[in-house]
């Protein structure tokens, strides 16, 4: 059983928004230039292309390791098979691990000024270790699961400064974190009437919480427009830590600094 379809839609929409934000920069202007001479140009202007004192955009992607707490779940509802329907109750087993470790991908796009960073970001990670949950369908023995998925969507703001070939940043990520614990059901049962199979027929324990994660980050300029960054963050709302390793492409050399 996969992630909550609603969360999936939100994440895919977020990715589309991210792509849409990056698209104009990637696509470039559609204007057809008539002259390279200053004062006679129609599409560009003096210093266009070599002076970016106002900063530039950055697109980044990489991997993220997340260690996050998982709150108590107690979810009930109805599942059905082609021949019957039954109530269920899903909970975390008591006295077991309440944290998950996950490895996944992190993508972001944003603006980097001389000292300011504003970005949107999403992280999707899958459990390496997760709490054991159990689902009890009426008339069936309990089934345990320990598969989880974590999705963070939010914004990142902060300050950065350049020290030789490094960028040192103090950031805070603010957004929402969704943890999905996938649940296995008895054979033939799904969350839809008649045991239908489909994207909306999965049953998962889902919890969404606020994410406020101060981060320290260090980036190494690999070239004038590519950085390799390492960030460490601590979620102050729910217990959690993250480590990210991302490769970033910058629209202007050294962000114009």
């Amino acid at each position: 059983l996969g992630p909550d379809p609603d969360v999936e839609v939100v994440v895919i929409r977020a990715l589309i928004v991210v792509a849409a934000m990056a698209a104009p920069a990637a696509a470039g202007r559609q204007c057809e230039e008539v002259s390279p001479i200053v004062g006679r140009q129609h599409c560009s202007w003096f210093a266009d292309g070599w002076a970016h004192q106002w900063g530039s955009f950055e697109i980044e992607g990489g991997i993220a390791f997340e260690h996050a707490s998982v709150r108590s779940f107690d979810q009930s509802g109805t599942v059905a098979s082609p021949t019957a329907s039954a109530g269920y109750r899903a909970t975390l087993l008591p006295s077991v691990r309440r944290t998950m470790s996950a490895l996944g991908t992190r993508y972001g796009v944003g603006y980097r000024g001389r000292h300011v960073i504003v970005a949107v970001e999403t992280t999707i990670a899958f459990s390496l270790a997760a709490p054991i949950s159990t689902i009890q369908v009426e008339g069936w023995p309990p089934i345990t699961s320990s598969s989880a998925m974590l999705i963070d969507v939010g914004g990142v703001i902060g300050l950065h400064t350049r020290v030789e070939g490094l960028e040192l940043s103090a950031l805070v990520a603010i957004g929402v974190r969704t943890v999905n614990l996938a649940q296995n059901l008895p054979a033939g049962f799904t969350g839809c009437a008649g045991g239908q199979i489909g994207e909306a027929c999965d049953v998962a324990l889902s919890d969404t919480s606020l994410l406020v994660e101060p981060r320290l980050r260090i980036d190494r300029w690999m070239t004038s427009q590519v950085t390799l960054g390492l960030s460490v963050g601590f979620n102050v709302v729910e217990r959690g830590e993250s480590i990210g390793l991302t490769l970033g492409y910058h629209g202007a050399p050294f962000d114009g600094s």
Binding site: A47, H52, F126, I143, S147, N184, S224, V226, Y249
Partner: protein
């Protein structure tokens, strides 16, 4: 999206935790590998493309085919450009920054004098109807070019050369007159 697809299909029947964890890990790696390879290829393309875009000292000489003037981090060279839309000389200024940080450039500080073989000289002013030309900072390891149309302050026949004082173009460097002569080509 690829990651989500991996997640969707990575929930095998699980009865025993160790078995599930191993199977899930193998499944994830197996499914994610092609995507990771694609991402790695893209990353390398970005890095290599970015490396090739880095300005290397002396690079602008290939474009202007003229001697490079070095003003601290800033490299500058010029040539005469011919454009149908301009009836007066156009000077093409090539800029390059050999440092890893931005440096100040002020092309409005160019002082240009035109002259002919008859010994006449005339001050030239930049065509800048929108007052665009002014101080900027050229990005680190970046290069650029600007085409600047130069109007003589009074008519002159058979313009043969332009003398350009570039001494104040790099405000961060000590300012001293530094004249560079650019001969007019016959076609221009």
């Amino acid at each position: 999206v690829v990651t989500l697809l991996v997640a969707r299909s990575s929930s095998p029947p699980e009865r025993e935790r160790p078995y599930v964890l191993v199977k899930q890990l193998i499944f994830t790696i197996r499914n994610a590998a092609p995507a990771h390879h694609g991402a790695m290829r893209t990353a390398w393309i970005v890095v290599i493309a970015s490396c090739s875009a880095n300005y290397q000292p002396g690079k602008i000489a290939q474009r202007a085919r003229a001697e490079i003037q070095v003003l601290g981090c800033l490299e500058l060279t010029m040539r005469i450009g011919a454009r149908a839309e301009a009836s007066v000389p156009v000077v093409v200024v090539y800029l390059g920054n050999r440092c890893d940080h931005s440096v100040a450039v002020d092309l409005s500080a160019l002082h240009v004098v035109g002259g002919n073989d008859l010994g006449q000289t005339i001050a030239m002013t930049a065509y800048d109807p929108s007052h665009e030309i002014g101080p900027r900072r050229i990005d680190g390891r970046a290069q650029g070019e600007e085409w600047i149309e130069l109007d003589p302050t009074r008519p002159i026949i058979d313009l043969a050369w332009l003398d350009v004082d570039i001494g104040a173009v790099a405000p961060d460097e000590p300012i001293a007159a530094r004249w560079v002569r650019i001969p007019m080509s016959r076609s221009s």
